[in-house]
C-alpha cells in the first residue's frame, strides 16, 4: 500500500503545503484589492472607475460565502451570533464613514457641515442595515444547513 500521490508528483504533505500557500495568496490578493478600492475611493474615483475591482471582490466573496454555507462552515474564531453580526456591521459602517469623511474633507475639499453629516451618516446607516440584514439572513441559512448536515443517519448493516 502506497501513499497517494497527486498527478503532479506531489505527496499529501506537499499538497497540503501548496493549498496553504494558495490560501495565503488568495487572502493577500483579496485584502490588497480591498485596499486598492479604498485607496481609489479616497482619491476621488467614482463607482465606474472601481467597478472591475468591486466585481472581482464580489465574485470572490460570493464564492467563499456560498461554499462555506453549503459545507456548514461559519468562522474559525467566532460563533455566529446577533451581537457579532452587529459589531461587524458597525465596523463596516464606520469604515465607510471614515472613507467618505476623508474623501469629502481632504480630497474633494468640501466644507464640513450639516450637509456633510448627512452625506456620511445616511450611507453609514444604510451600510449597517444592509450588512446586518445580510449577515442575519446568512446566519439563519447557516443554522439550517448545519442542522441538516448533522442530521444524518448512522451507517446500518
Amino acid at each position: 500500500m502506497k501513499g497517494k500521490k497527486e498527478p503532479g508528483g506531489m505527496d499529501e504533505m506537499q499538497n497540503l503545503q501548496l493549498m496553504k500557500l494558495e490560501e495565503h495568496g488568495f487572502w493577500i490578493a483579496f485584502w490588497a484589492l480591498c485596499a486598492a478600492v479604498v485607496g481609489q475611493a479616497l482619491m476621488g474615483a467614482g463607482l465606474r472607475a472601481i467597478a472591475g475591482e468591486l466585481a472581482v471582490l464580489f465574485i470572490a466573496g460570493g464564492y467563499i460565502t456560498v461554499l462555506c454555507l453549503k459545507n456548514g462552515l461559519w468562522s474559525v474564531s467566532r460563533q455566529p451570533s446577533r451581537k457579532t453580526n452587529a459589531v461587524f456591521s458597525a465596523g463596516a459602517a464606520l469604515a465607510l464613514g471614515a472613507i467618505y469623511a476623508v474623501r469629502s474633507l481632504l480630497v474633494l475639499r468640501k466644507p464640513a457641515g450639516l450637509e456633510l453629516l448627512w452625506r456620511i451618516v445616511l450611507p453609514m446607516a444604510a451600510v449597517f442595515a444592509v450588512c446586518f440584514g445580510l449577515l442575519e439572513v446568512l446566519r439563519g441559512v447557516y443554522k439550517r444547513r448545519r442542522a441538516r448536515l448533522d442530521d444524518v443517519e448512522e451507517y446500518k448493516k
Binding site: M1, K2, G3, K4, K5, M10, D11, E12, M13, Q14
Partner: protein, 70 residues
C-alpha cells in the same frame, strides 16, 4: 508536535534509509523527514502504509507513548 523516534528505530532495524522508506510508501524524503521530526501529522492512509513497510502496528509506531519523546 513530538519527534517520532519509533519510526527511526524501526527503520534502523530493517537497515532502511529515510529515502528508501519514503520511496516504499510513495512520498518524498522531505515528507518522511517531517514525519520523523514531528513537523507533519500524516493521514491514516500514510500511517498504515508506513506500518506495513516497517512491519509494525499503528500503536507501535504512532501510539501515545511517542508524545513523551521530545
Amino acid at each position: 508536535m513530538a519527534r517520532n523516534v519509533k519510526i527511526k528505530t524501526a527503520r534502523a532495524e530493517l537497515d532502511m534509509t529515510q529515502k528508501a522508506l519514503a520511496d516504499a510508501v510513495g512520498v518524498s524524503r522531505q515528507t518522511m523527514n517531517a514525519i520523523e521530526q514531528g513537523n507533519y501529522n500524516p493521514t491514516i492512509r500514510l500511517c498504515r502504509a508506513i506500518c506495513k513497510v516497517l512491519g509494525k502496528t499503528l500503536d507501535e509506531l504512532f501510539g501515545e507513548e511517542n508524545d513523551d519523546e521530545r
